[in-house]
């Protein structure tokens, strides 16, 4: 970027600076750096996830122009969007693919943060807020999946909310509130719609803001190797170097989403009929497949608990431990660190295998 005072950017900046006290902010932005090194590639995935989220918001709002969120009209409105609205097919397919890619990207981001041990002090809250974001995203996925009100989504939701109902004591009331009644019916749809376009986005915005705020305040985590070998220290300015590279990846991601949307458009299938029996081979979206498969392997009873209850308990414990990793591995014991890392690899492998098995079934 040129530094000539005639540069229009500078003029604009000058105009804003004249009116708002953003001087400190501009200085900070100029000096913000990002580590450079072997693991640097993984740093981009946070930004990619954010980009995909922006795509979701944009396409989501466009979809809301035509989507009608009632059981009688939902399916027809989605068909209308796909078939009649100019570029409606594109908006819908992009929305569906971007959702999948975002969750995938978020998983990459989370595991890369884990293996770089960036969850350690002082970044514990960043880790926690990230996990809250993950949970919210899965909620987005689950609620959004039902909205076309097609057969697949209907039964996937039935199974999914059934699993929620397995939680002891509070599970059934939660399931009742989620479903808007005993079963998945036309009353369920408006709730899921409200969750998907209002409740989750509000929470997500708050937590994304918190997550980013924490990161900006603390700076990006530096590779551990630098502690022992300070001579390897190398950084790049966030603006413009890192940002431009990020932009490059964003453009490539956009292209990938477009190609997927054109060659693998989102399917619609047939309309949900609460009175018909479930088709063979229902399964949830891929990001829930590992949980689904895991529960299948549970025996009917384990002690006083039902198999599914036990399975859910295991999963909840696992998730809890995952949340508490910053307090388990504080970097003070090599043994603990090794165990935690190995466990992380095991979990990754385990999830991958289960997801694959879910597909193959």
């Amino acid at each position: 970027m040129s530094t000539s005072p005639e540069n229009p950017d500078r003029a604009l900046l000058a105009w804003v600076k004249d009116r708002y006290p953003i001087g400190k902010f501009v200085e900070w932005a100029k000096h913000k750096t990002v580590p450079v090194g072997r693991g640097a590639f993984w740093y981009y995935f946070g930004g990619i996830s954010l980009f995909l989220f922006l795509i979701q918001v944009g396409t989501g709002i466009l979809l809301m122009f035509y989507y009608k969120g009632s059981a009688d009209t939902a399916f027809a409105s989605v068909r209308f969007i796909s078939a009649k609205v100019p570029f409606g097919w594109l908006v819908r397919s992009v929305h569906a693919w971007s959702a999948n890619l975002m969750i995938f990207s978020v998983f990459i981001h989370m595991f890369s943060v884990f293996f770089m041990r960036a969850y350690r002090k002082p970044r514990e809250l960043t880790w926690i807020s990230g996990l809250v974001l993950l949970a919210l995203l899965l909620g987005f996925g689950f609620s959004g999946y039902l909205l076309p009100w097609n057969e697949l989504a209907f039964f996937a939701t039935k199974v999914g909310t059934d699993i929620v109902g397995v939680i002891p004591v509070i599970g059934e009331p939660i399931m009742y509130v989620l479903r808007g009644g005993e079963d998945v019916t036309g009353s369920t749809l408006p709730r899921f719609f409200a969750l998907h376009v209002a409740f989750f986005p509000a929470l997500l915005t708050v937590f994304i803001a918190a997550h980013l705020f924490f990161i900006q305040m603390q700076g990006i985590h530096e590779p551990e190797a630098w502690e022992a070998h300070p001579e390897q220290r190398k950084t790049m300015p966030f603006f413009p170097h890192f940002f431009m590279r990020e932009l490059l990846l964003w453009l490539i991601t956009l292209n990938i989403v477009a190609v997927l949307a054109v060659f693998f458009p989102a399917e619609l299938g047939i309309e949900a009929d609460p009175f018909s029996s479930a088709p063979a081979g229902i399964k949830p979206e891929w990001y829930f497949l590992s949980t689904f498969e895991f529960l299948k392997y549970m025996p009917a009873h384990v002690g006083p608990l039902e198999g599914e209850e036990f399975g859910l308990l295991l999963i909840s414990l696992g998730f809890l431990l995952w949340c508490l990793v910053p307090w388990i591995d504080r970097g003070r014991s090599r043994r603990i660190t090794t165990i935690v890392m190995v466990t992380g690899v095991a979990i990754l492998v385990f999830l991958t295998i289960l997801t694959y098995r879910g597909f193959a079934a």
Binding site: A71, V177, G180, G181, G186, S187, R191
Partner: protein
């Protein structure tokens, strides 16, 4: 906590207008993607049904001479309540609800 069941019939189709249909006449119209039949009875009121015959899926029609709904395929008859009264049809026709709005006749799913 959600109240118990409340499904609302939302999708409504304007099937006819008062002026276009004489008493004792019938008209086939499109209800979403399905063919439907609206009948104006001799007393002036309207009845509407899905026009699919419950025997072998032919499209039924209104017979003014018999004041009944008729399926040409195998001579099945339904009365103006949609009940199968003669011939092969095993079940009554699927009924739809009729609502008047001024001069217009709107048809919706049964709620």
């Amino acid at each position: 906590m959600p109240p118990p069941e409340q499904e609302a019939a939302v999708s409504a189709v304007k099937a006819a207008s008062l002026t276009e249909m004489a008493p004792n006449s019938g008209k086939i119209f499109k209800f979403g993607r399905k063919p439907a039949l609206i009948v104006r009875q001799p007393d002036g009121t309207f009845r509407a049904f899905l026009a699919k015959c419950t025997h072998l899926d032919c499209v039924v029609q209104y017979r003014e001479d018999k004041e009944r709904i008729w399926c040409a395929c195998h001579d099945g008859f339904y009365d103006l309540n949609g009940t199968n009264v003669s011939g092969p049809p095993p079940r009554p026709l699927d009924a739809l609800e009729v609502h008047m709005q001024g001069d217009d006749v709107y048809v919706t799913r049964k709620s």
